[in-house]
């Protein structure tokens, strides 16, 4: 008799599945749900970018590229990062084109974590960091970010979490699910805490183009932090290119050479068609970014205003395309609230606990939807909370 328990990796078996699976099981069975759950743009990739991908196929560019990505693309990434965020990286030695930001996060974590190393993960956050740290043999150390700090990581919180075993800090800003942004002064305070340590920072800046009150500040641009920072970025959010699966790492050569090994042996290279499309995006896509950002911004204002009108407390997010309202006063857990909203009104939003235990009392609403759909969902949500009072 074949024994699967003996066949499986203890580490992988030990990774906990998402605690809110039940909620999504209900969601997947229901029909005609007004959903505000999806974590990806509702825009289709701009046509000139799609066309560049199609053209590359017509020209027969169907082969592997070099491991780290076609050089034109890495050069364009370097130009783009300097133009938009003032960062400087050498396209030959400091950039790897990856399969989405997700692979970039994975290879960054695996490159630096030894067994037992602690990696600080500010929560609530996107779901992948802690499992990837565990898979790499490390120990994720969550920090519970607070609403009263606008869900920013503070120097005091960070100091408290640092131990002699701390190897790295994940900095996921602008943040999914809270929409929080760290401004230059906020990042400088973090830099001050770690500057005399050997802590590596993985700055996941995938939402860097979606900031509404002021331009994004990269952690690598903070004085003295470039050397210790691995920046993760990509095309999914800025250019509405989630399905193309394309991201990249920016890091000093010491990191890049090592990360490139995992990428080379595990992945080979990012999709070729996507790389050619991305070259076009980087060269001629700044206008697309501005347009989509303007649309998200209008929806951001609208969703926050409507939430406040129906009596739901909500902090004004500065980035990404999510709001993270406080639903604690209704006396239910996040999951109960979202499940009842779904069953009673057919409106789907994501329980805050999907993004870490400290998301309890909150829910995530995505505004990557049309104003009409947002309007419809919030009207129904208003009726729902009215009945709760």
């Amino acid at each position: 008799m074949f024994d699967y328990n003996k066949a499986l990796s203890d580490t992988i078996v030990g990774i906990k599945p998402s605690g809110i699976r039940k909620f999504f099981d209900i969601l997947s069975e229901m029909k005609d749900v007004v959903s505000l759950t999806v974590g990806q743009p509702d825009f289709v990739t701009p046509w000139h970018i799609r066309e560049a991908g199609i053209r590359s196929l017509e020209e027969g560019r169907t082969y592997y590229t070099s491991n780290n990505g076609i050089i034109e693309m890495r050069e364009e990434i370097a130009r783009y990062q300097e133009r938009r965020f003032g960062l400087r990286y050498d396209p030959k030695n400091e950039i790897i084109v990856t399969v989405g930001g997700s692979e970039a996060i994975d290879i960054a974590i695996r490159t630096i974590v030894n067994r037992g190393d602690e990696v600080i993960v500010p929560e609530p956050c996107f779901v992948c960091y802690s499992p990837l740290v565990s898979i790499a043999g490390g120990v994720p150390i969550p920090i519970c970010l607070k609403k009263e700090n606008a869900f920013k990581l503070t120097a005091a919180e960070l100091k408290e979490a640092i131990t002699p075993k701390t190897k790295a800090l994940i900095l996921p800003f602008p943040n999914n699910p809270t929409g929080a942004c760290m401004r230059k002064e906020d990042l400088a305070a973090i830099a001050e805490v770690i500057k005399d340590t050997n802590i590596v920072v993985i700055a996941d800046e995938i939402y860097s183009e979606l900031t509404y009150d002021q331009p994004h500040c990269s952690f690598a641009s903070i004085e003295g932090m470039w050397e210790r920072t691995i920046v993760v970025n990509g095309f999914s959010k800025a250019y509405a290119m989630t399905g193309w699966r394309l991201g990249y790492t920016l890091a000093p050569q010491y990191f890049t050479v090592q990360m490139a090994k995992i990428h080379q042996f595990g992945i080979m290279c990012a999709p070729t068609t996507s790389q050619y499309a991305a070259v076009e995006a980087l060269r001629n896509g700044d206008g697309d970014i501005e347009y989509m950002k303007g649309e998200y911004n209008a929806r951001r204002r609208y969703v926050v205003k409507r939430l406040r009108e129906i009596g739901i407390d909500c902090f004004m997010p500065e980035g990404a395309f999510y709001v993270f309202p406080d639903i604690s006063r209704f006396g239910m857990t996040s999951e109960e609230f979202c499940e009842r909203l779904l069953r009673e009104k057919g409106v789907a939003i994501v329980p805050g606990t999907a993004f870490g235990a400290c998301g309890e009392g909150f829910a995530r609403i995505s505004y990557a939807y049309s104003i009409r759909q947002i309007d419809k969902a919030l009207t129904l949500m208003g009726e729902f909370v009215q009945n709760l009072k």
Partner: protein
């Protein structure tokens, strides 16, 4: 800001000043004032619904008609274009560059009605030297609106 208001209204004329104010981060009074100004100076001409009449029982035929004309002294194409625009069947009138002068679209109940309109009204206008009528067989998009849009959300539920 005015252009942004106009762009939103062009796409959805039912957005209220209150909604636009929130979306654009300005006051409702400012939105109202800008809209009023645009209505007054003729920037905003009308608020209309885009209707797919095929969904109703109503019979309707559209045609594009190319006209060649003799421009009039002093008034060029203006007087003839204005005269054509007076007919309620005529939905649009454009002066064109290229091989003909005016392009007009008309909407009538039947093809026979279109033919009669062209023969009896358009062709007889003084200065019209020729007409070429093209019937619309199927409308896919009109006024920026796709007629049978696929509205299913194709995004995977990755949260």
């Amino acid at each position: 800001m005015k252009e942004r208001i106009l762009a939103y209204l062009e796409n959805d004329a039912r957005l209220t000043p209150e909604q636009l104010a929130v979306m654009l981060g300005i006051t409702e009074e400012e939105v109202r004032a800008m809209i009023a100004e645009c209505e007054k100076d003729g920037t905003i001409l009308s608020y209309q619904a885009v209707i797919n009449w095929d969904k109703t029982g109503k019979e309707s035929v559209s045609a594009l008609i190319e006209l060649k004309t003799i421009p009039q002294k002093d008034r060029g194409f203006d007087s003839i274009a204005e005269r054509i625009a007076n007919y309620p069947e005529v939905k649009s009138v454009y002066l064109m560059s290229g091989g003909f002068d005016l392009a007009i679209t008309v909407e009538c109940r039947t093809m026979r009605d279109v033919a009669a309109f062209v023969a009896e009204k358009l062709a007889t206008i003084e200065g019209v030297t020729s007409t070429a009528t093209h019937f619309v067989m199927q409308k896919y998009k009109d006024n920026g609106v796709v007629f049978e849009p696929d509205t299913t959300d194709k995004r995977g539920n990755i949260w």
